[in-house]
Amino acid sequence: MGEFEVHRVRFFAFLPSGVRCLARGPALALARLDGALELYGPTASGFQEKAIPGHEARATQALSWAAGGRLFGADLGGDVAEYDLQKLRIKYTVDGFGGPIWSLAADPGGTRLAIGCEDGSVKLFQVLPDKIQFERSLDQQKGRILSLSWHVSGTRIVAGSINHLRVYNVDSGRIVQRIRVERRLLSSHRRECVVWGVAFLSDGTVVSADSAGKVQFWDADKGTLLETHPVSSSAVLSLAVSEEEDSLVVGTSEGAVYQFQLLPVKRGSTESRWVRTKPFQHHTHDVRAVAHSRTALISGGLDAQLVIRPLMEKMHGQGYEAVLRKVTFPHRRLVSCARKARLLLFQFPQHLELWRLGATNAAGRDGEVLPVSRDPEHLLQLKSKGPDHICCSCISPCGGWIAYATASRLHLHRLQLENGSVVAIQRVPKLPKLLCPVYQLLYSADSSRLFVASDQGSVHVVQLLEPGGCKHLQTLCSPSGTAEAVQLLAVSADGDWLAATSSDWAINIYSLQQFKHHCTVPAYNCPVTAIAINPATNHLVIAHSDQQLFEFSIPEREYTAWSRGVQQHGLHKDWLERDTPIAHIAFNPRQPTQLLLHDTHMLCILDKSLPLPDDNTPLNNQAFLKQLSVKARRGHAHAFKICKKYQPLLFMDLLDEDCLVVVERPLTDIQAQLPPPVQQKKFGT
């Protein structure tokens, strides 16, 4: 399979932001502490399909889906915002006039929004086709409203506040029930009890989760306590109920997630009881958000992890969906590489870092660590202006151009390098206005052109001019006239072809010679995670979030024979059950049949000339092969060569024929940056 000299990069100090809230609707919406919004597909693939970058001043506290697949968010700035999920930006904001907003809930019909404010008011907004309108304010009380839940009838709202639960009648706006939540049964210390989560069940039961670590069930009509379940010694921070209302999930500040189930006391009897069943400890810090889908428990924590834990009893056998998924890193490219100049560009929310790779003059054998003769060097830090976070960035292969974009504008910089160090940086002025918004950037292989992915399926082609200028050449438009933004770009090495993927999963191929649409790859009903064009054959390789791989011949406008063979044979089950999507595809210039793929946990060389493995042979058989003789090895070898040495892998690319760069971000480094977790007594320590 060939040996590579590997640059193992660990100086990308990327820190993912903690998960603040989750909302389940047409897709799973997730808001991070830095205000970024991410959308995960409705299928349990755990692939981050869309992302809206964060904003300095926006601290989203709650998300809610309303009718028509509209997503609303409320933040501590006191605004309610609607998100444009096609253009991936905020459509508009409306001031709630109640101070910081802590909670937001849409009524069961999705036509009204209730917000809970700092000043203790619950305000109702009507969802109109293109805006929201203030309707009325319910009785104002003391204490911020931290959680809200609508009854299924839409006539009552329960609000969780400090030390209190209140049930409002929506029509009259009056409080019909006030329930005091005690901190402890024997309340010796008078600390307040914060109700972090409430749920109004259809039978009139109110479930509350509070900072005293209790999950309590109340009768909303009588205001009486039905059941108490002490869950944690610290706070219970989040609560979500399944659609059938027979199961609920809570998240605690110790990082544990508990499931409660409504189980019949006896077989055949109608009496049933909430029972705490399964504990899950996937997080190390506060679990600020939980969601309950039909088949999985979803939790997001301060440790920036999104965990999708499938419920095995709802699954039908093993398979792609029945895998525990942990999403820690964004499924977008944060690193770009200037191959010729051996530079790496790292993207942070508000700045970019340019590093020059180290070098060695020693040579060694397989597995050896080579001494570094020249240390990697931090060349440049480029701070973005304005409150918006950077959404994408790219460095040209020659290393002479850097482009990045925020939600509002595109920036292009000309870089002059000498002996590998930056001599001058110069901003290219007067970029054409029509280039915005930008979702993805890509340079052509000869660094002469910049491709800008934009909304409505269009791609702008910009000619880069020396010594520091640019010219808008052409806009490539999708023939189907989609409204979705373009997410991924791939250009062929010879500069003839450009492939673009939009959010509706269509892949269009354009000819750059004629600037016109060449063909569309047959639709596959799954998000695309990575695309690349083979420089030798101009075959487009496509990786989907369900771990399927396709190879599409651009000249012939059809799937290649190998791709058909893969579909016929089927991929190995271990390959399909991997939990992170393929993030990047590269090609070995020495071996045109070899593909280099990577996800967060592995690096794989796929040799198309070798047979595909079947389910009985182990997928990861390198160690086994090493024991065999050269002759026997040939008989057992199969197409997948997997390397799990580098974890978690953020980026991998080929610098030249036998030189590889991998960017790792060890989880321990991230955890070291987090505040200390809640102290827990562990037995035997």
Binding site: Q261, R267, T277, E313, K314
Partner: protein, 812 residues
């Protein structure tokens, strides 16, 4: 007519109380407990054994109260490993039996049996229908659910639930090991009595609560974790509100509302909890422990009674010792304790804490161990040696001398000697000071450091306190050889100490070396002087298996024989010496007198394996032994401990004879135990009959005295809150104690009592078991012919006196 007497080896009590779950009677007044081949019935309030149910010829494996008829109990013995019966079906039960009825087979099955309603004690059944196959034999691993709708059984990593209505089995597997290193193997299971909930215990200390298991797929469980090692047993309370669990930690955990957050503990129960059972009325529960103990616990988690059997540790380092005062058997008990076990009543008298340190329940920890104990001839002094050795070079030794305190009725620490020797103490013995003039208590210790030390008491009294201490009086050695044994002659004038191959004899007055014996060569294992007429002989055994007898008068070897003797034990009351040899597999017993060439008795193959130690215990009343051959058994009884820590003895009585006294015990009214109050009433009446001149030292008990008085009965049985005032009752009570005019002969009275009590037995509502022994008239006849000197009634009286526990008197 008289059957040929045969010497038999019999179990003599001290058998395991913790072999299986104990069962409460329906009213929780009695506790039925399987011990060896018997079932013992204890009173839960007084801890007394009320009667013993016999009938099995092999190990009793389970007791189950009949839920249909609370006066009936099922008792199952070996080859049926467990028995269950359900409230709903009175004609069927469930048994766990080996597959194909083969003993060697490893797999067991749960089968349904039809119970025929036969009047007899034994139920025979042919109909068997298989319910579950390949289950664990332990009764703890199978449990029946709510209203008998399902049965849950665990084995290895699988929980299986069989539903009787649907006739379907659901299997719920667990993975062998998780990432966190949990050990998911099942250890026990219990079913909630009212809800569909199964609790299972696991090797790693987790308790899982399974719910919704009627669905094969959507079952769910929650885990509760407190125990750090395996959960040994689980039990739900009667209403299912609480779950009780126990294990190695010797803490009973009560999970209130079966939830993890509400748990209560009853700690310091002594040793690992092996079984938990709950009384049907919910007032009591009991835990069986590895140290052969049953603790009865009230529902508010307070210990109400402790039934303590003979504690069997891993090794009996002190050997078997007799307490001369109580004639109790003394040996290692709980770690660091010395237990005093009364063989007649088969119960522990008390446990003396020697080490006086907290025992830490942790594997691999080196604990202080009690290794030697010896009593002085009168039982005034007790010497103990404890040691702790963590490393080879690091030995901690401590000798303690305890004096008997008449007021406390217990031993009190008198002197503590740190490091009495520099190496392991091998033997210690007191000098018998009866015949000696000055009578200073003297103790000799021998040790591996090559020395023997003589310790004597000194008066350390000062003005306000009288106290006696011990000091070392003499240190002897012989060529620096290890001292292995020491032993005083009967009159205390000579001390024999063996130093490896050489036996030395010392004058105990001057501590001069008198003579040495070293023939035949071989390291001496044990040493003893002959007694009474044979006191001129010194006997010793060597590691070559030789038993040598030296004559002290001419200092010559009288005789020697190669028998492979491992235990040599003289009888303190006669010249007899018992030697146990082990040449091949079994052990053989020889009883001989040193001056006679032929042994008195040879009993081959008394047990499998080596006998650990043996002791003669003087009988309270000499037994009449017909055969000359077994005359040596008349005054003392020989007890020995086998390799498996089983306490055995020799008996010439036929099995039926041995059983009779226990069935006679049923004669006492409502099987009430002999409380001091009860005895006091009886004595009072007796005293009146004897014109108030009976001496207090000889307690006389008439168990029938209370029966005859309805007034006393009334007084004792009416609840206190409905009783009339004491002044009103007083005259009736006094009157009842007066002598009645009737004047029957003693014999007639006794006969009448016997008849009455038999009637009472039949009519009694409290009789909880039909398997109780009926008195066999033939046996009494037989008994009567055996002892023609005594009249039937006299003999009966005697037996009653013998059975009474007078230990309470000493406490007065």
């Amino acid at each position: 007519m008289v059957a040929q007497e045969q010497l038999r080896v019999v179990r003599c009590g001290g058998s395991k109380l913790n072999g299986s779950r104990a069962a409460f009677s329906a009213d929780a007044k009695y506790l039925l407990c399987a011990t060896g081949d018997f079932v013992k019935v204890y009173s839960t309030t007084t801890e007394e054994c009320i009667h013993i149910l016999q009938g099995h010829t092999n190990l009793v494996t389970g007791i189950q109260l009949n839920p249909q008829n609370h006066l009936q109990t099922f008792v199952v013995g070996y080859k049926i490993f467990a028995f269950y019966c359900l409230a709903g079906s009175d004609d069927s039960g469930f048994v766990i039996i080996p597959k194909n009825n083969e003993e060697a087979s490893d797999s067991f099955q749960l089968a349904l049996v039809r119970l025929t309603k036969a009047p007899g004690q034994e139920v025979e059944t042919k109909e068997l229908s298989l319910i579950l196959d390949d289950i664990d034999y332990s009764p703890k691993c199978t449990a029946f659910g709510r209203e008998g709708e399902y049965v849950a059984s665990v084995r290895g990593l699988h929980l299986r639930v069989y539903f009787f209505k649907k006739k379907k089995t659901h299997s719920f597997p667990l993975s062998a090991r998780t990432v966190k290193g949990a050990n998911n193997y099942f250890t026990c299971v219990a079913c909630h009595p009212k809800e569909d909930c199964i609790a299972s215990g696991h090797k790693d200390g987790k308790i899982r609560l399974w719910r919704n298991f009627t669905h094969k797929k959507e079952y769910t469980f929650s885990a509760m974790h407190w125990h750090h090692s395996a959960v040994m047993d689980l039990a739900f309370t009667v209403e299912g509100t609480n779950l009780l669990s126990g294990g190695f930690e010797s803490v009973l955990v009560q999970w209130r509302d079966v939830s993890e957050s509400k748990k209560e503990f009853l700690p310091r129960l002594g040793s690992t909890i092996e079984h938990i059972s709950v009384s049907p009325d919910g007032t009591l529960c009991c835990t069986s422990h590895t140290e052969n103990k049953i603790t009865i616990i009230q529902s508010n988690l307070r210990v109400s009674a402790v039934i303590q059997g003979l504690v069997k540790g891993s090794s009996v380092k002190t050997g078997l010792v007799v307490d001369p005062r109580t004639k109790a058997l003394v040996l290692n008990g709980k770690p660091g304790h010395l237990q005093f076990f009364c063989l007649q009543s088969d119960k522990q008298l008390y446990s003396l804490d020697i080490v006086q340190q907290e025992y830490i329940n942790q594997a691999g920890l080196s604990q202080t161990d009690l290794v030697k104990a010896a009593f002085s001839a009168q039982g005034n002094w007790l010497a103990t040696v404890e040691q702790r050795q963590e490393k080879e070079s690091d030995l901690e030794l401590q000798m303690k001398l305890w004096v008997y305190d008449e007021q406390m009725q217990s031993f009190k620490l008198s002197t503590r000697v740190n490091m009495p020797h520099e190496d392991h103490v091998t033997a210690l013995c007191f000098r018998d000071t009866d015949g000696v003039e000055d009578g200073i208590p003297t103790l000799v210790t021998a040790a591996k450091d090559g020395r023997f030390k003589v310790w004597v008491t000194v008066d350390e009294s000062d003005t306000d306190k009288q106290s006696v201490g011990w000091i070392c009086d003499f240190v002897g050695s012989y060529h620096n050889y290890q001292a292995d044994n020491c032993c005083f002659s009967e009159d205390g004038s000579l001390l024999a100490v063996s130093f490896e191959e050489i036996v030395t004899v010392w004058d105990s007055e001057t501590w001069d070396l008198k003579c040495t014996f070293c023939h035949p060569p071989g390291k001496t294992w044990s040493l003893c002087f002959g007694r009474l007429s044979c006191s001129k002989y010194l006997l010793g055994t060597t590691d070559h298996g030789f038993l040598c007898c030296w004559n002290l008068l001419n200092c010559a070897l009288e005789w020697s024989t190669q028998l492979g003797v491992i235990v040599l034990q003289p009888d303190p009351l006669s010249e007899n010496i018992a030697a146990v040899s082990c040449i091949s597999e079994g052990s053989d017993l020889f009883v001989f007198r040193p001056n006679e060439p032929r042994p008195l008795c040879i009993q081959k193959n008394v047990c499998r394996g080596k006998v650990q130690c043996a002791v003669f215990i003087p009988r309270n009343v000499p037994e009449t032994v017909g055969s000359e051959k077994y005359q040596w058994l008349s005054r003392s009884q020989l007890y020995f401990l086998t390799e498996t820590q089983e306490l055995m003895t020799f008996s010439t009585k036929s099995p039926e004879m041995r059983l009779t006294p226990s069935s006679k015990q049923l004669a006492s009214e409502e099987s009430l135990p002999m409380t001091p109050f009860y005895v006091l009433l009886g004595k009072h009446r007796e005293q009146q009959q004897l014109k108030m001149d009976a001496d207090l030292g000889k307690p006389v008990v008439h168990s029938h005295s209370t029966q005859s008085s309805p007034a006393v009965k009334e007084l004792l049985h009416t609840p206190a809150h409905v009783l009339p005032s004491a002044t009103f009752l007083c005259s009736i009570f006094i009157n009842s104690l007066l002598i009645s005019k009737e004047n029957k002969s003693n014999g007639e009275v006794a006969n009448e009592v016997e008849m009455e009590s038999e009637k009472a037995e039949d009519e009694s509502d409290e009789d909880i078991d039909h398997t109780a022994m009926e008195e066999d008239p033939k046996l009494t006849e037989f008994w009567g012919e055996m002892t023609p000197k005594l009249s039937k009634s006299q003999e009966k009286e005697l037996r009653k006196i013998r059975k009474t526990d007078f230990s309470w008197i000493s406490a007065l």
